[in-house]
Symmetry: C2
Subunit: 319 residues, 2 copies
């Protein structure tokens, strides 16, 4: 692994994780194409193991460890898809995953981690407490910290979805990708530009969580308070230190979408594509609904990041 | 087309409809495999055009017509997936589809047919009125009747999903297939046994709609009152006259499932596979949940028939 992220790293990651992840399908919908006036290709990481693209990065991080490093396990702080993905990857390698979760995390998220044999440490529900707990566990156990996004092994893994997308659909004009901490976006952009230099890559985030757009425009990392967006996978305060220069170098633009558009896009995808996607995964299609990118006649890839929606609480149904 | 259904008919159908349908993916889930102790392969016709396998049979029927036959259009009576699929197939061929629907049909179903340019004729909501209206439209317009299931062109089209499933997964032990009128089941069984004579094919229907099981055991077609099952695609009174001998000859068994198991299976598939399936499509997995077939260690294909669920009214949520 070099000190920055290269396409060779992503190709290596793809070879490394292939036995442990799914090659997810690319789906299309006549109806959604007609609704926005473009040809859309949905890379369905909601069908990925553990329900999200996070399995790619987690597997790459875990299977990159030397046997000596692996022996003492891994640790992360996350209440979301990275937690379950890391627990699963560690289980596959036969090592321990310590997962620091905030007290009060949704029962379903706790169960997902437990399902894959993760060891859960609860902490106060704020970032300082989470980072402190993570550092403490690492110090006590020797576990390697695998950050949810600001880790180049993780970003390399996330980029492998784009290798597959462009193998299946070589002539895309544009890839739309949700951005939270920037691990997926940097992996996607590095892979896409290496394979097809003329392609555009645009990151999409909720208006309420527009730290990456602000940072991209200011040319420096800007931090925001924890955003209240429905897109729970994108509630990050600041893009990663390692990811940001990659985003600056390889990404064409960052656009934002409203909360209403996220719910409308989620519903439209469930309806037309008959698949369950979580709010964060609806953000790229929301950008098309809100015409945040020029699109007439284009061939557009959309990274559908995950499917872990709460089936007991759909945002278009009144409680 | 011969007077019975042969594998050659199904292969011909596959060639004929290929430009108009999707090759749907086969998905797997570690979690569902572990839950039932078998290896499961879900043939995802919920991702098919118009949201159901019905597009296969409808396209085969419409594109089998001579130009002279086609000129006067097609007609059917259906309030479900066959209606939308036939409207879509007719639109693709540039001919008229007349759809007889019962007054009071769900607005979403009416809109689906309208979306594909179908001409809707409303009638009283009973089978006699529907058949009479269908015959009247056919007589007035010269439109060819395309029955939802008791038509060998339709059954041939439905069998094409199994060609694809067994191309992708050649070594299945068993295929589980929902059965309503028997078009899908007869196509599936003829294709499966021709490709892989040792394979077993079992039809699954709701206990409340067990006409095919009764018929299969009695050796003659038995009719039941319209069943009240949640699986709205399987509310048929009697299996088709043309399908029944094919089912007798090629199907190994018919098993039934409870309403509770259908809802539980639907929920489990949404949760674990992150896809939207309608109640009728959950019936094969329900049979595994209720242990209606011996399954330890087997490799089982399940035909996921459709994804047109009502997203405003999920059966596991209280109204």
């Amino acid at each position: 692994m070099s000190e920055t992220l290269t396409f060779a790293d992503i190709r290596d990651a793809h070879e490394r994780i292939r036995p442990f992840i799914k090659r997810t399908p690319v789906l299309t919908s006549e109806r959604l194409d007609a609704a926005v006036g473009a040809s859309l290709f949905f890379k369905c990481e909601n069908f990925q193991e553990a329900g999200a693209f996070k399995s790619r990065g987690a597997c790459n991080a875990v299977f990159s460890l030397t046997d000596e490093e692996a022996a003492t396990g891994v640790v992360t702080h996350s209440s979301g898809n990275h937690a379950a993905a890391l627990a699963r990857a560690a289980q596959l390698r036969g090592i321990t995953a310590h997962i620091v979760m905030p007290a009060g995390a949704a029962q379903s998220k706790v169960q997902n981690v437990g399902h894959y044999g993760g060891w859960i440490t609860f902490c106060e529900p704020n970032l300082t407490a989470r980072e402190a707990a993570c550092a403490r566990v690492s110090k006590q156990t020797g576990a390697t910290i695998v950050h949810p996004f600001d880790d180049l092994r993780v970003a390399a893994g996330q980029g492998t979805a784009t290798i597959e997308l462009l193998e299946d659909m070589p002539d895309l004009d544009l890839i739309l990708c949700p951005v939270g901490g920037g691990g997926l976006l940097s992996g996607t952009a590095v892979a896409a530009k290496a394979i097809h230099p003329g392609i555009r890559v645009i990151g999409v985030e909720p208006e309420l969580a527009n730290d990456v757009q602000q940072s991209f425009r200011a040319g420096r990392r800007i931090s925001i308070p924890t955003p209240a967006t429905i897109a729970d996978g994108l509630r990050t305060n600041c893009t990663g230190e390692k990811n940001f220069p990659l985003i600056q170098q390889h990404v064409d633009d960052i656009v934002t979408v409203s909360e209403e558009a996220i719910v409308a896009a989620m519903r439209a995808v469930w309806d037309a594509l008959h698949m369950v996607i979580e709010p964060s995964a609806a953000v790229p299609y929301a950008a098309l609904l809100e015409k945040r990118v020029p699109l007439t006649g284009q061939r557009i890839g959309l990274i559908v990041t995950g499917g872990n929606a709460d089936l007991d609480k759909l945002p278009w149904l009144k409680a």
